[in-house]
Each structure stands twice: as C-alpha cells, then as structure tokens.
Subunit: 541 residues, 2 copies
Amino acid sequence: MQGLMMDYQLTLTPFLERAMRMFPKKEIVTKSGPSLERSTYGEVTERIGRLANALARMGIRSGDRVATFSFNNTRHFELYFAAPCMGAVLHPLNLRLPPDQLVYIVNHAEDKVLFFEPQFAPAIEKLSAHFKTVKQYVVMGPTVPETTLSPVVSYEELLRNEIPDYPWPRLQENDAAAMCYTSGTTGNPKGVMYSHRSLYLHSMGLSMADSVGLVERDIYMPVVPMFHVLAWGTPFAAMMLGTSIVFPGPHLTPRDLAELLSAEKVTLTAGVPTLWMGLLNLLDNERYDLSNLRGMVVGGAAAPQSMIEAYEKRHGLKIIHAWGMTEMTPLGTVSNLLRSQEGLPDAERFAIRARQGPPVPGVETRAIDENGKEVPWDNKTFGELEVRGPWIIKSYYNDERTPQSFHDGWFKTGDVVVIDENGSIQIVDRSKDVIKSGGEWISSQDMENVIMSHPKVAEAAVIAVPHPKWQERPLACVVPKPDFKDSLTKEEIYEHLKTKFTKMYLPDDIVFIDAVPKTSVGKFDKKVLRVQYKDYVLPDR
Amino acid sequence: MQGLMMDYQLTLTPFLERAMRMFPKKEIVTKSGPSLERSTYGEVTERIGRLANALARMGIRSGDRVATFSFNNTRHFELYFAAPCMGAVLHPLNLRLPPDQLVYIVNHAEDKVLFFEPQFAPAIEKLSAHFKTVKQYVVMGPTVPETTLSPVVSYEELLRNEIPDYPWPRLQENDAAAMCYTSGTTGNPKGVMYSHRSLYLHSMGLSMADSVGLVERDIYMPVVPMFHVLAWGTPFAAMMLGTSIVFPGPHLTPRDLAELLSAEKVTLTAGVPTLWMGLLNLLDNERYDLSNLRGMVVGGAAAPQSMIEAYEKRHGLKIIHAWGMTEMTPLGTVSNLLRSQEGLPDAERFAIRARQGPPVPGVETRAIDENGKEVPWDNKTFGELEVRGPWIIKSYYNDERTPQSFHDGWFKTGDVVVIDENGSIQIVDRSKDVIKSGGEWISSQDMENVIMSHPKVAEAAVIAVPHPKWQERPLACVVPKPDFKDSLTKEEIYEHLKTKFTKMYLPDDIVFIDAVPKTSVGKFDKKVLRVQYKDYVLPDR
C-alpha cells in the first residue's frame, strides 16, 4: 500500500521562491572594507535570476560545476542559489589550501567556471595554467582588474546584461546541488556531493528548536567560511526562513566581529572555537553591547568547557556547541541540555555542554569496537563512531578510497567516542591516533592534554608503536619549553601522568623532540611521527 | 549529475528506535478516571514491539488497515507506532461520527482489525454486522467485557503473550503509514492516506522553532483527539524528540484540563478553540498554577482575537494559532509574529495573530480567482487557497471525487482567503459559501458575523441565490431571538448591516426562519438552505 501524498521534490528552488515572495524587504548586509553594503532578499533574489541567466549564457548546463574562491558576502550567497537552482553544482574552494591541493580539487571536480574575489587574481593567475577544465573566470566585483586570466568578466557586468526572470527547471531531489572537498591530512582531498534533498532536509534540521533553532526573527552572522561545508549549510536555512543575514566579509579580527555583532544587533552567529577564544579575550577587556546575541554556534573543533563557561558567566552569552563533518552537511550533534539536566549544578551542566552531545533528529549514531560490534552506552567503552541519515554521504565523488569509509551502510566518522546513557557523544580521539593495546583502546588526545598541562612542556604527541605482545603501546613525543630543553626528565612526565592514569595506560616510553610536525593548516601531523618511530623498540616496563 | 548522499528512507521506525535508545526514562502519562497511569518511553517502546508481534500473529500484513476507536491514551500511542512500523496502516476512527458514516468508513478503508475502548463495546456491537472486512476485535484494556463481538481479545492479554523484540521491516518512505477520513458536510467522508515520508517531514515541520517548536524539554499534552488528523501529527514528533507526553484520556472538562495542566507541569498543549474558550472562562474565575505552560496550540477552527488577547493579558498565556487540514497532515500555517511586527501596538499584534498566518517552510500557498489566475498579495482580493508540499495529498483513497480537489498539481483547500504582503493568510469564507456577484466575491461568513452581532438575532446564514444579471446575490436567512420572533424587521437588519457594508454587498433580501439547519457535528448546513431557496425570486434593489 502506497501513501497518497504529493510527489513533491525537496529542492532549493522553493526556498528561493519563498524568500522572493514572502521576505522581499528583509535585509542582507555585507561588510566590505570599512563600509556596509545593504541589500534585501527582494534585490538579491532578483540578482539570483540574472546570475542564472548569465550562467546559462556562458554555457553552464545541468550538472556542471561552478567554483567559487570567495569570502562570506552577498555575491557568494547569490551563487549559493543561482547555480543549484538552475541545475548546476556550486563548488566553493577552500581559500586556505596549498596550491597543489587547489589544482587537484579544481581538476578533479572538473570546474567549468571560477568566480573569485578581485584580490585573488594574482594567486589564480599562477594556478590557471594547471586548471584543465575551467573555461571562464568571473571577478566578483564591479570591474575586472589588470589580469592575464582569460576569458574573464566582472560579476556586475554579467548581471547588468541579464533579466531577473529565469525559467527555473523542475529539478529532482536527488540531483546534485553543491560539493565540498574534505581537507584530510592523508592523501588528496575527497569530494562530497550534496543533493538538493540533503540540503533541504538539513535546513529543516538546523531550524528545529532542539537543534540550532534558526528563525525568521534572527539576524544571523555566519563567520564560519562559506567554503567550509557551505558555512555549515546555514545560508540555505536562512533563505528558507527569511532570516536577515550579516556577512562579515574578509576581515575577522575580534574587534571587527565585536563591532559588527553590536552595530547590526546580530542575534545568532556561528564559527570555530579559535575565533570565539579571540573574541572572548577582547570582551574581557573592552565593552561591547551584545545584548541582542542569543547564541553563538561553535563547531569545526571542540569548544573547551572553560570557554563555554566564561562566555556564560562573564558575558551572559550562550554557546551552542555543535559537531559535524563535511560528509554530514555537516550537522551531527548539538549539545543542548536535556530536561533532566537543567537543574544540575553549574559544573555538571558545563561539562555536559562541552561534550559533542546527542544526535539531532535525522542523524543515527552508533559506536563500533574492533570486532565490528556495537559498544554499550556506558560513557566508558571506546568505539568508532558511525553515522547514518538523509544528509550523510553514501560515497565520495569519483574516489576509489570510498569503500574504507563505510561499514554496512553506515559512514565511519574516524572518530573514537564514548556515548553516555542519553546518547550524548564525547569524542576521545581520532581512530587513526587511538592506541589499540590488547582489547583496550587508549586515547592519545587525553594523554597529550595531560602532558601538555605540565608547566615545563610546550607540545606533546602520543602515538602508537607496534608491540609484540599488546599489538600497540603508546609512545609520548614531548617538546619541552625552551627553558627546560635540557633539564626536563622522563620521570617528571611520568610522575605527572600518574596523577591521572593507571599503570596500564602510561606510555611505554617518552622521547624528547624539537617540535611536533604540523600539517599545512597547522594541525599536529602524527602520521610523520608514526612513520619515524614505526620500528622503535619499546623498553620492557 | 546525482548527489551522493545516503538513500536513507524517511520512515517512522528511526523515531521509535531513537526514543527507545535515547529517552527510555522519559515519562508518558495517561489520565484514566481519577488516577494517572505512568509509564516511560522505555516501557512503551517495549510494548510497541509486543504489539507488533501480536498484530503479525493475528494475520495483519503489510498495508493492512488497523482501525482504532479510542481516546488520547498510551495504548492508542502504542498503536500509532506498532501498526505503521510493522508495515500496516493505522486508521483512527472519529468517535463523533454518526453510525452510517462509521460503517461507510470502516468498509471503505477495509479495516482488518478494530481496537476499541471497553465502554464502546455496545456501540460497536450494533455496527459490527455491517462491517464487511473486520476479522478481529481488540478491547483496549486488561480484560474483555461481556460482549457479542467475536473474535475478541483484550489488549493486555495480547501483549502478555508476546516478546518485545520485533524484526522491524525495512520500509520505503512512500509506503502508507496511516489514514484519516475527512468529515465533509457533502457526501461520504473521503480518505487521506499518509505516507511515512509525509509524517517524518511533518514532524520536522512541527519541531521548527518558527512553527510550533516542539522540543525534548517540553511536557506536551495533546487535547486534540488522536482521531483528529492524528492529533495533528504531534505524537510522531514527540517520539522523534523524546518529549514527555500527558494524555488526558476521555474527560475534557475545563476543570479536568486545568488540573492536569497544573499537576503535570505541562509546557505545551494543543486543541480546538471551543476547548480553550471553556478553559479561559474557568481561569477567569478560579486560580490554577499554569506557570510552566509556554504555549497553547489552537487549530481546527479560527481562534477569536479576543481569546488570544484574553489569555495573554489576563493570564500571561500564549496562544500559538495554527491552521491546517486533514489533507495537509495537517500543518499549513502558524501565525507567529515576524520580526518587523514585534514592535507594533497591541491591537495590531493581536489582529495579526488572529489571522491564519504565513505558511510554514515546506508548504507553498497561492490564491486563485475565478479565471484560474493568481490574485495579488494585497490583503483585499479574494481567491481560493491552493497548497502544495511534501505532506499534502495528491489524491483521496479510492475516491472518484478526487479530480475536483486538484488544480495543476495544487490541492484546492476550498477556503476563500486574502493574503497580505508577508504571505499571511486570512480565511474569509468557504468557497462553496462565498457569493460570486459579478466579478466580486462576497464573504457569507463576514455578513453572518455582522448580522449575528445584532442584539435581536440568534442565528444567521447568508447564502447565494441565482441572479439573472449578477450570477449570484446574497440572501440572508435570519433566526430572531425568541423574544423578537414577531417583532424583528428587515429594516432593522439592513440598518445594522449598513454600518459595515456598502450597498453592493448588502443582501438582496432577508428571510426569517426558525432555525439554521445543522450537520451531525453541529455546524451550519447551508446546502440545505441553498436547495430550499434555489428558485427564490430576489426583489429588485
């Protein structure tokens, strides 16, 4: 027996039409240098129609990839809808990637056109000879600067020549709408191809009161870059709801942000923890009126409990701690308090909110042990987190590495977690970093954090080294602070560790090194150390 | 180009599994006589497994209809999931329908099994000879009362004999999950067949902060009957979110409700306006602590502005005014204030909230004139409301009357509306009642309300009568109050009407009648009057 409900396709086009009709006067603001460029959903949706006509005229067809190299601004937002709603695929490029990865990504995605900010012209010029499929460059501004790129045209000139009406095609919900590449530390980046359906459902997910709860009444400022998992999918939800948006443009110093949050009476913002650490430091020293701000979404890395606490206690500001992945569009968990937790003492409440939290409706989670069995929700047993749901990938784009990321139809996140009785997740390590000692999994992250809390230690990386009896045992690679370079001893580290860990968790050895190797984006690159110490003979302990 | 996201089917089964795992301790309470029966999601989801096993054992197969004749209680909630998640179709019957309609519905739906409350045994006995497909009766209680029904078994006996584990099948999202019949005033009721997908998406819709915003933290009491569009779909959303539920059982006097709302610290409730009018009257005279109540959802009929105002001003309670239809699962609009409306004077804000409001994301709306053209959003021009979306029907179940309800893929609601610049809808009449005079549409409802505000009038119905020049003109059928039965004059009514309407809107004639004919559920049955006056010769005016 079939249900008899409309075969209504979940695509982004109704979001566009809804905002055009219902919210034409709502504001969209972009910080551009010292000034603010103000426009409205009415103007922007009209420009989106012009842009779609321009894309069609330049030969962009259904499924073609439209790349962007841009900041958080209104033009970028226009591309977020013009490309997917005309049937093409939006592809924002990560501004921070090294040139070789950018070239790989543009060629792998087979981008047909590249929209970029004027100031990136010199950088793009250097790469363009390596781009195999790009047929058109568009400068995201009123004019074209002096450049060797060709053919090239300015965004505003493009729009001037077009009409606002575009015959939006009837898309199917599983059609591709956008793509992003992961910036993995191993091998080439992998492409994630979002469908219209996944972005539609994810927008509803973000709007649920138990999740981020975005509403029409919000004035929302996405600080998370629009190339970073599509600004966490929030621009799509904003269009759906008619939420006013403040795009912060390229300048993201704490002072820039504080001034903009205050001046534009922003109610909700979103960004990575580093950003909010900087803002916290500023707010501790200078006064800004952030009384309209109801929430600050934090994702991309774990929000330290101390930061959540500091914002709430010192500034009355609420951190909305979320976790997700590029492969998850990205919303996975939001660490809101449950009803039963609301009355708990401060310390417990903040500890709960510093966890990644329970999955939002739409996302299913489980943690799996070495034998492929689900681990209990006892908040102790380690397992690799696997996820499933309508906005989670089923495969990477044209990538033979896909199979290793899936297990029985579930996506393997690569995170090692514990899960408590409420289904709240706490990430304890990456699965490639966890030390599998006999049946026991040891978190390298936990141990690193404890070692780095020693006053004489600058950095520490804990890695697994092969062991004849235990399979793997931990080796701690420690960088002393300059003043203690020659004086810090293994015994001091062990004494410190013993206050937190029982004997079986202690590293089998400690080596002192000059620095922990880093990736291009500044993260610890432990695979270099693992290679270096793969034959290291651990002492008997 | 296809998106590469999981082919994850949107079914109710993940809601069930989610609550089972994440919220086993959350409470589900049913008022049963003077006492409260307390259980938990842990217990209830276990019983749902037993119930599914019992359904399978009694021969219920994929697609079979499982009928209920019951109140708002925990057993009914168990059926809400056991039937759909095992692949069958839940079919709650409207307790208030006349016997002939019930028989029609049960036979038309081909219900295989009928679950009913013990006190309805005598009523069911009278009808059972007419049921052509019912093969099994189940009494929703611990034992079977003295009855001629056969075969019959008690619910608790059924569950006692089963195990809680059930091998939930992998369903497809377009599979039928539940059905309800509309109680139209014309002809036989029409069946609406909800899919798993529509109930899943509708649950997300209800949970959006810009809609009803149901959350885990709520303690929710559905007063709207579970046979009335599945209690507006709210029990599915509650399972998804792990929201505590208080089922009020059969006794719904204002005092019953006030005591339960207070004792159980309910945060959100939902029901029809009549119910809340009764409660308002009680609260005006007696004190109850309803300080936990954050919202009262009103639907099923328009909430009078005076009621919205009275609750807010006198009791600090917020009415969440919503509109929908059986054919829409039912959520269509929620009359929340927009950001731009928050600062308006009280009178304007309450007038806005008394409208049906803007459509929630997921629902598309337009209003169409006689020529099939869309009318402008000027808050003046009448048009028939048409809707489209993923939780709106595409056809009635086995019903040849289906085509007349659709227009170009849109569902014709049968409501005549005006729409303002924000897309907010106000219903002015039913399309069968509106008087089409030349190019102008005249609202019979508006005129009835004005006539009924005359101190000497008890009831009034305004109907269209054929007219040689204008196609249709209004005729007012007026019932004087007993004391004015012989003294009330047409002139008095006209004088009163002239204060509100210009000449072209005034009825061409007024007739005095003894009573307005009523339907079985007590609504004005204007079609009887239309038949009676179809050849009425209107005077020249």
